[in-house]
């Protein structure tokens, strides 16, 4: 009864279909519709966002990139205006860096830029990256919990060669997160030369092929990298380290690792085996032969092929037995073919074709009379592996070309024919050699130096011993001329290189016959010996000069220039602190004539200051400091409007480019309300004072040294002896006279014309016309009228070329 009721129950249960809630279906429909609509809007939202983001980044990069480029390629020798721009740029960039998004953009710009430049420019990019402290941001990224941010930080530090971050990065070499680990490994190898050692010693994880490829690429591009002996890691427990070491050994051709690789041919891993065998073959390690033979039969096809390649290179006749044995046992077609090839390499003619040989007696009759019968061999190719018949392709009308393989195939060699051909070739070569011996080549001898004492062609003395035909062309004079031109060019280049330096006394004029005009007038003797003067680099003997004096034409432009100068706000200087000026110059008269409106005493003082600033004075002769902000310093104005951070930056710049006037300015800055600014100003002041003192001492040394040798140069400028006609006495000018001469320095107009100019005041000095044997002359014309504002003096330099 119960069972029956249960059965009924089960039947009822089966008959009762689970009710499907259509409401649920409609709810799901509603949800899917809502999601669909959401995705629809998101599509356009993302499109727009991607577009705007890329536009924004492009715009920011466009704004930032020129700033960065200008900033990067700033030269310390630039004009003051450009220095000012440089400092302003730096401040602007600092302002930009306050925004995190701009930091990202600037970092990206620098990362892109460093890919496009090389050498010094790239180093500047790295330096700038560090100066802007972007590397600190990258280091901060290393602390993130997100792997992509950590990886990005590592990548940035690696690409910008921040070697100081090596310590932070190397701890990630065994990170469990794969991407971070790989980035850290590459970074470690990139940043230091010892990174590869550390990596191979410490890595616990497997190294993928891709990673090995990238590491190898990094090592290849490391400058000055001296690879360690990688055989040390062949015994590592990490299989991938062993494999990578093998590859590095192969790449760097470390032959000394040959013996150490032999056990690796028995390695379980086929890749290691293959690499080891390849290296052994490349390095010609004969000792590995027996080991390879032992393992041959248990290897896979590819390894077998490699072993056979090894035997092809290093096999000897005693290995033939082994090869014959394996050939009999081998069933793989490719391996068998390879064995045959190796046999023929070791002993040519071992394997010859026996099937499908032309059996037509008529056609081979001729051949039989010429060639010996081909010796048969026990190792004959099986009939089911015939060589393909060489047929023509009729349908295309082209002849079949035998492949190089066929031609070189040992099976196809015919010894007799080969001998005949060889003899013919030999005869041809011998004939050619005989013909060549009749021909006398004219050797290109113009590279040899020519001694031109008598303009004789001296090459004959150094001519080779082979027979020569007489030269039809008289090469003597033309060679002489050519040589002189070349000599001239070389000397010119040397001199130009020397003259690029600031101080002219650093120019090495040893062996220089030609001196070219530069922007700095150079006083030399009117007679320079033709033969090079042996002068030590420390002692420069500049020959005496001839001084030419000319009246100066007062031109409107010059007055304008001076008027402009006068408009600048000068620091009022106490009269007593100024060096004594030439009393013969009527300064007041000058000012009055040029600037009738501005006849204030300050103008006079300012001009005197300018004059003083031209001279290089020992530090202790500088005027006392003034406690006003009206310093003659380009930084003063900027400092006034800057905030604390910018001030700190400016102080750095002062140290880099500052001069004496900045010292005064720094004294004022020391009273700044910001403590950090004050402290920094003190520090910078000390450093700047020290560096300026060193510079001054150096120049003093040079000055004193030159005084002893009879040559006086001040501030890299030549000595200008006012009113002195005889240039021979230049070397004897006293320091005071030099100072006076320098007062007129700014009056000097440099005329690089080669033509002489007569002085209007009556003192005329004719320049000697250059002759072939006349020494190089340097002539400087100096205006007679001294005075900063009154006279404009012309100085011309003339140089003669002995070879002109």
């Amino acid at each position: 009864m119960v069972i029956e009721s249960l059965k009924t129950y089960q039947l009822n249960a089966l008959l009762e279909v689970p009710k499907i809630q259509t409401n649920l279906l409609w709810d799901l429909t509603f949800v899917f519709s809502a999601l669909g609509i959401l995705y629809f809007f998101f599509i356009f939202y993302y499109k727009r966002r991607i577009r705007l983001k890329s536009e924004l980044i492009a715009r920011r990069k466009k704004d930032v990139a020129p700033m960065i480029s200008t900033f990067l390629f700033h030269e310390t020798e630039d004009s003051k205006e450009e220095k000012r721009n440089y400092v302003e740029l730096k401040i602007a960039i600092r302002e930009l860096l306050k925004d995190a998004r701009n930091k990202e953009v600037i970092a990206e710009v620098l990362l892109d830029l460093q890919k496009d430049v090389s050498g010094d420019a790239r180093k500047r990019v790295y330096r700038l990256y560090k100066e802007l402290e972007l590397h600190l941001e990258a280091i901060k990224k290393l602390d993130s919990w997100r792997w992509e941010i950590v990886s990005k930080g590592i990548l940035e530090l690696t690409q910008m060669k921040v070697t100081s971050s090596y310590g932070f990065i190397k701890k990630f070499i065994n990170d469990k997160r794969g991407i971070i680990r790989k980035q850290a490994q590459i970074s470690a190898v990139t940043l230091t030369h010892e990174g590869i050692n550390f990596f191979l010693d410490t890595t616990r994880y497997k190294i993928s092929e891709w990673q090995q490829l990238k590491l190898l690429e990094v090592l290849q591009n490391l400058e000055g990298f001296i690879p360690p002996s990688f055989k040390v890691w062949l015994t590592s427990n990490n299989r991938d380290v062993v494999l990578f070491s093998l590859r590095l050994i192969k790449h760097y051709h470390q032959i000394d690792a040959g013996i150490a690789m032999i056990p690796l041919v028995k390695h379980k891993n086929d890749q290691v085996k293959a690499e080891a065998i390849f290296c052994l073959k490349e390095f010609r390690v004969k000792e590995a032969k027996e080991t390879l033979k032992d393992i041959f039969s248990n290897c896979k096809t590819d390894i077998k092929i490699m072993i056979l390649d090894f035997l092809a290179v290093l096999g000897e006749k005693k290995d033939l037995f082994f090869l014959e044995n394996i050939e009999k046992r081998e069933t793989n077609f490719i391996v068998k073919n390879k064995i045959h090839s190796v046999l023929n390499v070791i002993q040519p003619g071992t394997i010859v074709p026996t099937s499908e040989i032309d059996k037509d007696l008529d056609k081979t009759q001729e051949r039989k009379t010429q060639i010996k019968p081909i010796p048969t061999n026990t190792l004959v190719m099986e009939e089911d592996n015939p060589l393909p018949p060489k047929e023509n392709i009729d349908s295309f009308g082209k002849e079949q070309h035998n492949s190089l393989d066929n031609i070189l195939d040992a099976d196809n060699e015919d010894e007799e024919i080969f001998n005949l051909c060889f003899k013919e070739e030999l005869e041809d070569i011998l004939n050619e050699l005989e013909e060549e011996s009749e021909f006398t080549a004219i050797l290109p001898l113009d590279f040899l130096p020519v001694v031109t004492e008598n303009n004789e062609f001296l090459v004959e003395d150094k001519a080779p011993t082979i027979e020569e035909k007489e030269l039809d062309v008289d090469l003597g004079n033309s060679l002489n001329d050519e040589f002189q031109e070349v000599e001239f060019q070389l000397q010119l280049e040397d001199l130009l290189d020397g003259l690029k330096k600031e101080d002219i006394d650093d120019v090495d004029i040893k062996n220089i016959d030609v001196v070219e005009a530069s922007f700095l007038p150079l006083v030399t003797n009117d007679e320079i010996e033709q033969t090079p003067v042996q002068i030590d680099s420390d002692k420069i003997s500049i020959n005496e000069i001839e001084v030419f004096h000319e009246p100066v034409d007062y031109e409107e432009d010059y007055f304008e220039m001076y008027r402009e100068l006068l408009k600048v706000e000068w620091m009022p200087v106490e009269e007593s602190s100024l060096p004594s000026l030439d009393k013969s110059i009527d300064w007041n008269g000058i000012t009055q004539s040029l600037a009738p409106v501005e006849t204030q005493p300050t103008i006079t003082n300012n001009t005197e200051t300018m004059t003083a600033n031209v001279k290089t004075k020992p530090l202790n002769s500088l005027p006392e400091k003034e406690k006003t902000m009206n310093c003659f310093s380009i930084f003063a104005e900027m400092f006034r409007d800057s905030d604390k951070e910018s001030k700190l930056i400016l102080l750095d710049e002062i140290l880099a480019v500052g001069e004496e006037k900045e010292l005064e300015f720094l004294n004022i800055v020391k009273t700044d309300k910001e403590k950090s600014v004050r402290i920094k100003a003190e520090k910078i002041y000390t450093q700047l004072a020290k560096s300026l003192e060193n510079k001054a001492n150096e120049k003093q040394d040079v000055l004193s040294h030159k005084k002893r040798s009879g040559v006086e140069v001040i501030s890299g400028n030549p000595i200008v002896k006012e009113g002195q006609n005889d240039a021979k006495n230049v070397g004897k000018l006293s320091l005071d006279e030099q100072e006076k001469a320098l007062e007129n320095y700014l009056d000097i107009e440099f005329d690089l014309s080669l033509e002489t100019q007569e002085q209007k005041d009556g003192k005329q000095h004719k320049l000697k016309e250059p002759t072939e044997k006349e020494p190089v002359k340097k002539e400087v014309e100096i205006s007679e009228k001294a005075g900063f504002l009154n006279s404009i003096k012309k100085i011309t330099l003339k140089f003669f070329n002995t070879s002109a």
Partner: protein
């Protein structure tokens, strides 16, 4: 009573159908999630990679690109030129002329100055006889090898190429496919980047090149196809490749690599005997076999998938050719599933046996059949007066909105990841396709699948059919 039983049966059918649909939707949702994660991971990972450095590395592996050609005279020269222009050093291009009846071989010989070289066939390798092997006399084409053989089908041609290649990896592509210049760099990276597992095969996304601007064998501008059938297929490929295969790749259960862009470890491919010449779904079947082989060897391995758009090809623009193509796919599907039926819910094969194979069986093979039968059932039930109209309408709307939502998600992901179609008009067209596809394009696909299954089940002879090649439009 009979009516009651019938009614109960129909209700059960409804339940089964609902269950089937619910499981399918759940799987699709999970696939959407997995593909999203995989795509994001891939995107982040690849932002640290500079592939160009691989190009000439001494460690870069050698690759053979095998391109079977049959009656490709119209476009063969340009296609080969495109293949020879890839950014990679250590590779060769092997074109297998599979008994073409037109002037394919003649054009190649003339264009590339080919000459026949001596060749010794391996008697152990079974394939249709090789008539000749050609190389170019010019050094600039020394990467090219042309093999002329008797017609044996795509699989036979690929096998010949695999056998004759001496390189580490082989790539099997359609000769009319356009590969991006750095395609091989991505492939090499995919093969090399794993340290724990051996990568035995790498597959990639196939993008639709219809109406795109192609010049000198290079893709210059991506455009939406003008043909509506091609547009529907574009949407379908986006869903399938970007969502479906990315998800399977994430859990290392990918069972198919597209025949138009697939790369294999040559050693493993030879060990499994190459492609099966007795099936038309050879691209799927070889992956099944390679996976089984690695399972039996008990070696850790994986099949990698590259979501980057590296390979562009033409899709059929006529309904007839489309139906033929899908017919072939359905037959290939059935052949492969039948051949490897022992994997069905077999824990020995891990996720393959417990997840991938059942999915393919129920939702790739059985789903079109169920849909077709369901369609007729509904009509029949309606005329019999036993149709649960309320349920029918609700489930229809649910399925429809889900499919539209899924398509829109695929479009969204494509925009986020690659943003190939930048014009708003193109996006709107794709959205319209998503709305209209369940009613227009999908029935065509279902019909093709039914036809293919019918032919296969009733052993009706049918081959590959033909694809009309227009060639990439030159500008």
């Amino acid at each position: 009573m009979d009516n009651g039983v019938l009614h109960i049966l129909i209700e059960y059918l409804n339940v089964i159908f609902l269950l089937f649909t619910t499981i399918l939707f759940t799987m699709f949702s999970v696939m959407g999630y997995l593909s999203t994660r995989n795509s994001l991971h891939y995107k982040h990972k690849n932002s640290f990679v500079d592939l160009s450095k691989v190009m000439a590395s001494p460690m870069a592996p050698s690759i053979t690109i095998i391109a079977p050609a049959y009656n490709e005279g119209l476009t063969i020269v340009e296609n080969i030129r495109s293949l020879l222009s890839l950014k990679y050093v250590n590779y060769e291009v092997m074109v297998v002329n599979d008994g073409s009846k037109d002037d394919t071989l003649a054009k190649m010989i003339e264009a590339y100055d080919l000459y026949e070289i001596a060749y010794t066939p391996d008697p152990g390798w079974l394939s249709k006889p090789i008539r000749g092997v050609y190389k170019s006399k010019q050094r600039s084409f020394d990467k090219l090898t042309v093999i002329d053989k008797e017609n044996g089908g795509k699989s036979d041609a690929l096998n010949t190429g695999i056998h004759l290649s001496r390189n580490q990896y082989v790539g099997c592509i359609d000769v009319d496919c356009l590969l991006l210049p750095d395609a091989l760099l991505h492939v090499v990276k995919s093969f090399y980047q794993r340290s724990e597992k051996k990568v035995i095969a790498v597959g990639g996304v196939i993008r639709i090149a219809n109406s795109c601007k192609i010049e000198g064998g290079r893709l210059q501008e991506i455009r939406l196809p003008k043909n509506w059938l091609a547009k529907f297929q574009l949407l379908e490929y986006t869903r399938s490749f970007l969502l479906g295969r990315m998800a399977w790749g994430r859990i290392d259960s990918l069972l198919i690599i597209s025949g138009a862009f697939g790369f294999f470890d040559r050693e493993i491919a030879l060990e499994v005997g190459g492609y099966d010449t007795n099936t038309v779904g050879e691209d799927m079947e070889i992956i099944f076999r390679m996976r089984r082989h690695m399972h039996e060897r008990k070696e850790p391995y994986t099949v990698e998938y590259i979501p980057d758009p590296l390979c562009w090809t033409e899709v059929p623009e006529s309904a007839k050719i489309l139906v033929n193509q899908r017919d072939r796919w359905a037959r290939g599907n059935l052949e492969t599933l039948y051949k490897h039926k022992d994997m069905f819910f077999n824990p020995k094969f891990g996720r393959l046996g417990m997840l991938s194979y059942p999915y393919w069986f129920f939702y790739e093979w059985m789903a079109p059949i169920l849909e077709f039968l369901g369609f007729f059932s509904i009509i029949m039930f309606y005329f019999l007066g036993i149709l649960n109209i309320e349920f029918f309408i609700a489930i229809t709307f649910m399925v429809y909105t889900f499919s539209v939502m899924f398509s829109l998600y695929a479009i969204l992901w494509d925009v986020y990841s690659y943003n190939q179609y930048t014009k708003t008009k193109d996006i709107l067209i794709l959205v319209i396709c998503a709305l209209v596809e369940p009613i227009t394009f999908h029935p065509l696909v279902v019909w093709s699948a039914i036809r293919g299954n019918y032919k296969k089940l009733f052993k009706i002879q049918s081959g590959w059919g033909s694809q009309v090649r227009k060639g990439f439009a030159k500008t």
